[in-house]
């Protein structure tokens, strides 16, 4: 299917969940890392995928994209995508911001972005407005950028195309507080135009961005609901995520 026909298949706002995951089981080198995971992502806003370290958040994202071996059903806009290879899923309208950024270190910033462009009219002006620093550094090799700047490149690669859904994996990991705020602001801006499934550890960022949360434990979904329902319950946050909500205390 071409990008044009993909766009024509875009569901209307409020037409139900954009992503429906059912019975998703993922394996890495034969070992089960997530089991029978089921949840939905609404067609608007940010849905945070949460859980303690090692519960399978990244594996869930990678399973949705077909980057690891998986079984189960994954629907995007009502269409099954679990039999598609990864590149077809992405062409179908799924933007991906991986954990640890994974920019191409030997390519320049401009080349990283050009590589990601798949639409006939990539949103270069939107990217330039969102990340003006990248414009100034367009000829700089991505491997020489700071962690925050590399995260901007990684985000920009996903945002340069019009997507139906963004999968964003720990975008603030290892970043300085000021950069965390910049990344969160960029995600907030992006969320106005595209639904986001966000894996994030920083409760401050989750509180600022997420409308809904899905919590994994032991490779399974143990909570799914409104973000406030979880975050306003300190005891539940402590029990499910194993962290204290510092922003609440502040």
């Amino acid at each position: 299917m071409t990008a044009a026909s993909d766009a024509s298949a875009r569901p209307a706002p409020g037409a139900g969940p954009i992503l429906r995951v059912a019975g998703l089981t993922g394996r890495i080198t034969g070992q089960t890392v997530i089991e029978d995971v089921s949840f939905e992502v609404p067609a608007t806003g940010v849905t945070a995928l949460l859980g303690r370290n090692g519960v399978g958040k990244t594996s869930t994202i990678r399973s949705i994209l077909g980057l690891i071996e998986r079984t189960g059903s994954v629907e995007l806009g009502g269409i099954r995508i679990d039999a598609m290879p990864t590149h077809r899923i992405v062409q179908f309208g799924v933007g991906y911001v991986p954990e640890d950024r994974e920019v191409f270190a030997g390519l320049t910033v401009a080349e990283n972005l050009r590589l990601a462009e798949r639409d006939a009219a990539p949103r270069r002006e939107f990217i330039a407005r969102l990340f003006p620093d990248l414009v100034a550094r367009r000829d700089q090799r991505a491997g020489t950028l700071s962690g925050g700047q590399q995260q901007m490149v990684s985000l920009a690669r996903a945002l340069v195309n019009e997507n139906r859904l963004l999968l964003v994996d720990e975008p603030t990991k290892g970043l300085a507080p000021r950069i965390v705020d910049e990344v969160a602001a960029a995600l907030g801006e992006a969320a106005r135009t595209v639904p986001i499934l966000l894996v994030e550890q920083n409760l401050h960022v989750i509180r600022a961005l997420a409308d809904r949360v899905v919590v994994l434990s032991g490779g399974r979904v143990v909570f799914a609901g409104a973000a406030s329902e979880l975050l306003d319950d300190e005891e539940r946050v402590q029990r499910l995520l194993g962290v204290h909500d510092a922003s609440e205390a502040a």
């Binding site: 994209l65 980057l67 290879p85 990864t86 590149h87 992405v90 062409q91 991906y96 991986p98 994974e102 191409f104 270190a105 030997g106 390519l107 080349e111 050009r114 590589l115 990601a116 798949r118 690669r157 195309n161």
Partner: protein, 291 residues
Amino acid sequence: MDTVVLLLITGLGLGALYFLVASGLSLIYGLMGVLNFAHGSFLTISAFLGWEVGRRVSDGTWTGLALSAVVGIVVGAVVAALTELLIIRRLYERHIEQALVTVGIALASVALFEGIWGTDPIYTERPAWLTETTEILGARIPNDRFLLIACAGLVLGGIVLFLRRTRYGLIIRAGVENRHMVTALGIDVRRSFTLVFAIGGAAAGLGGVLASVYYGYVSAHLGSVLLIFAFIVTVIGGLGSLTGAAIASVLVAVLQQFANYYLGGTGDLVVVVALAAVLLVRPRGLMGKAA
């Protein structure tokens, strides 16, 4: 002085041959992680078919040689692309099977070539100028060295331009770094796998025709001999690095020539010692990326 110049330029000529084989090996390993032991077969079949066409049209002339080169390039590209499409494509991420299959192709193809063209070397006719010498700083340099160096320079420049100026080149450069991430950007990276095999095969094909000029013959073992040194060059240069392959080709070939002349014909031994030294001191090679 004249001996040094002769050894240096002869080394550069031989290095050019090594590079034509090693460039494809390096790109193929860098993008796909495939150690392609069948690469020498691409060279040999190209050399034989190039020679067959060239001698029938105009043996021992520039026209014949040019035609041989074109045939060699096309045959190398097509055979390599077919090998990727029909055999290697089913074996990505299965490194042991890849090695077994490509070694099998290499052994079987040598037997096939011997069956068709015999076990003895077939001596080739060359344009007269290539059999003559040119004097540089007192050294009489065989002219074929200049042809080899020029061709390798053109191939290097062509590949660099392709990698830097085209979208497929961009995909290949990114894929050498992280092919899974290229896929995660919505790009069918496997299409570029075939292209890289074809480019590597074309370079090896040209290398086959030029090897027949350098050695003065074609034989079923032409590719096997050059493949060993091309692998050494690829490892020393850094697996996946085209620049590394170019630098290492020259270093290895020049070292080999000097050792052969000054150390009693120990060129091959010195090259193997150099390989061991690089692996001990800098396992990723001169220009390879850190693991």
